[in-house]
Amino acid sequence: MIRIIFFVIIIFLLVVAFLFFPATLRYGTLLYGLREGIITALFNLSGLLLGIGFGALLYILCILGKKILSPFLAKLRRPRMIREPIKASLSLALGIVSVALLLAGYTYMSHKQHLKNPDDRTIPTWSQLRQGVKTIFKVDARSHQRWIVVDSKATGMRLFLGLLYGVLGSIALGLLMGCFSAIEAFFVPPLSFLAKCPPTAMLAVFFVLVGTGENMFITMIAFGVLPTLAQSIYLAAKKDVPEELLHKAYTLGASNTEAILCIVYNNILPKMIDAIRLCIGPAVVYLIAAEMLCANTGFGYRMRLQSRLLNMDVVYPYIAILAGFGFAMDNLLRYIQRVCCPWYIRERG
């Protein structure tokens, strides 16, 4: 037994000497190569063992973790159906993240651009934008007026009057078309054709018909929204009011006018509001495009002028104001819908 232990110790010492005292061996000899090979193998082996150990540890942690996290994992793994609602808090968080990402993306792009060119104005920094906003709101030295006031007044009035005429015309025409077959047959062909004509392309026609003043913009918006909006209202009046309801109204003593105003109009009012909401966007597009082409005041005019001068610090706030206006109008109409048609909101949940 002692001899065996002595033998093992001797072998161990020889191996240690062989492996850890390279000076004892000459470089390039067979033993030197063998020693290098063994050391590499040992290192690899230890790496392998370490890897296996680490993997095992992770596996154990995973098993333990799975037991703890299984309820949450089950929720994540459950296949989600389309239109499945999410928590209000998650919805809000996702909305905030999307806006934050947008702002962060803009900040990054602006920063990158200003590293290349410190005087750049195509993607202005936040401080440049602040200056732009100040420019918009301060009194202009040449005209002695504030740009925002002049432009809002001009664009707002054109948009308001254009939409007013367009919406009122559409409601009247749509209701009549939906209720009387003769009016439907008379107006469907021209409206289907006009709905496909881009109003901005017809600007030249409006030049000729109503001149180049404010009337041109108002007419363009009114004629721009009327065909599409009238068609939406006409289809709602025709398809969304059950015949039974009209027959019932007649048996209650309603005249044709009362059937239209008391039954059809009220029945499709929420859908009309939805259709009006959808037409505000195109109306703004038509107006801005027309103002860019042939106006001397208004948002479109100012944006064209400033973008030519590469003053994007002024253009971007104008775009933001337009977007804000659209957002406000949309929410105002939704509020009106909620107040005027509580039955529709509740029916739809």
Partner: protein, 326 residues
Amino acid sequence: MTNIANISNMNDIVLECKSISHSFGNKKVLHEISFRIIRGEIVALVGPSGCGKSTLLKAMIGTHLPKKGQTIICSNGKSIAVTAPGRDRGIVYQEYSLPPFLRAQESIALGLKLSETNIPFRFFMFPKWWKMKKEHMRKSAELLEKLGLKDAMRLFPHQMSGGMRQRVAVAQALIMKPEILLLDEPFGALDEATREEMQRMLLSLYNENCEAIKRNEKPKYTMLIVTHELNEAIYVGDRVLGLSQYWNWKREGHAQCPGATIVYDKVAPVFLPDAEREFDKFARQRREIRDIVFEQSLTDNCRQYLQFWEQIKDGEGKGVLDNGNV
């Protein structure tokens, strides 16, 4: 048809269909439909699917006039040919009877508003209209309370159950005091319990008619109910009319089916609203209607089942149709 003038107190006819025939293109739907409805009756109209029950109802309402024949309505003591819908005929459909944008109370008041005022009045005489509106709402609330719908006054149709909706629809029609109330499968979409509750409601109105006749007054409610449920027809109606396309038209010299016609017209047992439904009582009649109206084999002489007026003459009618009662 028997001369009803000979039958005592049975000549108060509210509605009469005179030889009504209708077709859609080449498809013949109705053929020579003739019947009369006595004031205070609840007539149940049954028939197989697609036989033209709804078409006949539309002809009576006046929304779709028949190609041949006419409907005569007795309005304020005058006989008038139906050419358009009018307030003398109330209607309750299976669905869409109530405007979705009106609360129950407003729905019922709608009829009063439409019949008693017009747009210029409401616009130019606003203070007067405001007072009238208050009165309409009060009447409407009273009726809702009577029908046990006090809690539903402020509810929109989509917030009410099917039974509540139909009760409001019946109230909406009844507040106009129509000469006749036409019901187009009104309880088709309801569950069994609610359906029974609604049937009892109609029977309670019928009971009011019987009481009115005993007091020597005119009965207030005349109804025609279109249904495909035979138990309902016999239970609710005091008379059953069967409309069917399965009749022996060859016997009358037609080369092809000229459309559905009335093949069954008999009195039905009368039930009190609170009495138990005894199915045995109408098992025989039910079988008879099924054989004559719904069976596709052509009945040899279907006219033999048009016995209503003979039955009345023989004193077989009950309730409003009881000669001894009136």
